[in-house]
């Protein structure tokens, strides 16, 4: 039975109204097609490409253009973007607010990225903050406020990653060069982000943003702990902390039906335990047996979980 046949049947027995039937039939027959996603991706790529090119051009021509010209141009662009956004935006509400038009989200994103570039340029040229990256804290606060005002997840991600930058963390990757203090910073950052997200959620302020906070903080904290399990001395402490948090991620993920966190918990825990165990095993037979036995244990648990929750997400 096709979807159209089912819709007709549901209408005939009165499960859906004639108006709903017409709307849904138009969607299934593609009499009404949204290209919102495609246009959004074009906007996003366009903004990223534009700002990337802006940065490279400034780097290449800073001597020719001069500070005044560069800063004036950037200020004009930021002002134009924000003027458009504030003139277009709908009134603030704590609940999710749909943008009045598609352009608004990405013009705001563009304005934020250009503002970020401008403040970084100011710091780079004039050392306003004596080489410490306080400009990242400033942009983080500004972006955070704008993300909430305009209900924009892209800008919220920017705010959180800028905050990480201020603390000296790089979210875009981690090579295991650094040290306990940086891990401690990552843990504090992760805890702060998760706590802030949870608090705002409890206050009912843009509760749909919670996922952004939790995904970011879970990955930062788990990755920070995982990077420390090979450290002499503190390795076991990191392992214990990692396993505790993985257990928490799995339990809370199951409880709140957020299965991405279950996956994080399982993968980080399995990776960490395997790393610790396989260090002591140099026999190929034993390694394969380890894979079979532990893999089966995890698989059995996962199947039980999957059977219990079906397709819930």
């Amino acid at each position: 039975m096709t979807t159209l046949e089912r819709l007709a049947e549901w209408k005939a027995v009165g499960t859906i109204t004639p108006s709903q039937h017409d709307t849904l039939t138009a969607l299934v027959r593609k009499q009404r097609v949204s290209v919102h996603l495609e246009l959004s991706v074009l906007w996003y790529l366009g903004v990223l490409s534009f700002v990337g090119g802006l940065g490279w051009t400034m780097r290449a021509y800073v001597a020719d253009l001069g500070d005044a010209a560069i800063l004036s141009l950037l200020t004009l662009m930021v002002a134009a973007c924000f003027c458009y956004c504030f003139a277009t935006v709908a009134p603030y509400a704590n609940r999710e607010v749909e943008s009045p038009n598609l352009s608004l989200d990405y013009v705001l994103y563009l304005g934020c990225l250009v503002l970020s570039a401008e403040i970084s340029y100011l710091e780079y040229r004039f050392h306003l903050f004596d080489h410490w990256h306080h400009h990242l804290l400033i942009v983080s606060v500004i972006f955070g406020a704008l993300a909430y005002r305009f209900d924009n997840r892209f800008v919220l991600s920017l705010a959180l990653s800028s905050l990480a930058g201020w603390l000296g963390l790089r979210i875009s990757g981690f090579d295991v060069v650094a040290a306990d203090p940086l891990r401690a910073t990552a843990l504090i950052y992760g805890g702060f982000v998760a706590g802030l997200g949870a608090w705002l959620h409890r206050q009912g302020i843009k509760p749909h943003f919670l996922d952004v906070y939790l995904h970011l903080s879970a990955n930062v904290v788990l990755a920070a702990l995982a990077s420390g399990i090979g450290e002499p001395g503190m390795g076991l402490a990191y392992l214990a902390a990692l396993l505790s948090l993985c257990a928490a991620a799995i339990l809370l993920g199951v409880r709140y039906r957020k299965f991405a966190f279950v996956t994080y918990g399982i993968l980080y825990a399995y990776g960490a335990i395997s790393y610790k165990v396989l260090v002591f095993i140099d026999d190929a037979f034993a390694i394969f047996w380890y894979g079979i036995i532990t893999g089966t244990l995890v698989l059995v648990a996962l199947v039980a979980l999957a059977r219990r929750f079906g397709r819930d997400e």
Partner: protein, 384 residues
């Protein structure tokens, strides 16, 4: 013969639509709770996160078992026996995948998928080992393409069909040929033939299963054709020879393909093909300078970005100014929640996007500040 009934496949897809319509406010939760039981199937499914995890751990078990088996036999078997054992193990994996579907009614559950894919890999490896000599890769790829196509036909895994096309397109490059054009041309013809055949096959189904699946495969086949035609994008396969007429023919075709794709997809309202056509168009814009041998400038990304913004903004305005915010059935407004969810994922990923470079490293006393892009995005320095 397929492992799943067409009725079940269609019910699953309608169920997904009902979920999406409910989340989009087009149906009420009460209506959903009445409709979904009517769409229930006797198949065990799971969400995408558990599916990925099950796939990974299924893979750990299977590959550990195969490794153990290989270790037991190492040194005691010749190449022919090893080939035979690979084929037998592949058959066993396929049987396992089939049993998981038949007896336990698994549907996109991860475990049966990894078993089926391992089967394809083992049979292809066995065939390659069996032939040996100069052409193991040719045989391996041919068998892999066949096995993956079988997996698609039997289990309906779309990615298996896409991998089968990749293997089939890689085949012509394995034959020794003096011409650099011939293998590429054969691969293009193979993929184009697949695209045309799939297009014909799906015409009778429209958007209902299996028409929706075939649309994705057709779009991927056209993308493959484009990548092979675009000598800059797939420059690693053969060297670029600007003096040849083939080079300039391909330059013309990389403009024609996206245009044709856009026309087809907009006319037929086929979103997978529309997305692929956009990717092709972006690829053409990005590779044109390299094609022409023109120098690149720092401001090229600005021009490219502006072009995308103008196109996206212009199309949105044009569509929005139509009657009811729509023109020819297209709207720039979001209708379904699934689109919003996809954008939410993109926003999440944007937290780890690359840094924004801002200032010259030469003039800086400390090149770590500003030079590497401490701004916005994921700026800053340390690593843990």
């Amino acid at each position: 013969m397929t492992a799943y009934r067409q009725e079940d496949e269609r019910a699953i897809r309608t169920g997904r639509r009902v979920d999406d319509w409910t989340q989009s406010g087009l149906l009420t939760p009460e209506q959903r709770s009445v409709l979904l039981p009517q769409l229930a199937v006797e198949l065990r499914r799971t969400n995408k996160f558990l599916r990925i995890t099950l796939f990974l751990f299924g893979g750990v078990i299977l590959h550990s078992a195969l490794g153990l088996f290989a270790l037991f036999l190492s040194g005691t078997t010749g190449e022919t026996t090893a080939a035979l054992l690979c084929v037998i193990a592949g058959g066993a994996c396929f049987w396992l995948a089939s049993q998981l579907v038949r007896r336990y009614h698994l549907y996109r559950f991860g475990v049966e998928e990894v078993a089926a894919l391992t089967a394809a890999g083992l049979v292809a490896t066995g065939a390659a080992l069996f032939v040996g000599g100069d052409s193991p890769l040719v045989v391996g790829l041919a068998v892999a393409a066949t096995m993956l196509a079988v997996l698609f036909l039997h289990f309906g895994f779309v990615y298996a069909a896409v991998l089968a096309m990749v293997a089939a397109a890689a085949l012509p490059f394995q034959f020794a040929s003096e011409s650099e054009v011939l293998p590429r041309a054969i691969a293009i013809v193979v993929l184009a033939a697949i695209a045309v055949m799939v297009r014909r096959a799906r015409s009778e189904y429209g958007d209902e299963y299996p028409g929706d699946v075939l649309t994705v495969i057709e779009a991927c086949a056209w993308l493959g054709v484009y990548l092979l035609v675009n000598l800059v994008a797939s420059g690693g396969l053969t060297r670029l020879d600007r003096a040849s007429s083939f080079y300039w023919v391909t330059f013309a075709v990389i403009w024609l393909l996206p245009a044709a794709g856009l026309w087809w997809s907009l006319r037929g309202r086929e979103r997978p093909l529309l997305l692929v056509s956009l990717v092709m168009a972006l690829g053409t814009l990005l590779s044109s300078k390299a094609y022409l041998g023109a120098p690149s400038y720092e401001w090229d990304p600005i021009v490219f970005g502006l072009l995308l913004i103008v196109i996206a903004g212009g199309v949105r305005r044009w569509l929005s100014s139509g009657e009811g915010g729509m023109r020819h059935g297209y709207t720039a407004s979001r209708i379904l929640q699934s689109d919003q969810a996809a954008l939410g994922s993109l926003a999440m990923v944007s937290a780890v996007h690359t840094d924004v470079p801002v200032a010259p490293s030469a003039a800086a006393p400390d090149s770590a500040i500003g030079g590497g892009g401490r701004s916005g995005g994921a700026g800053a320095g340390g690593a843990f």
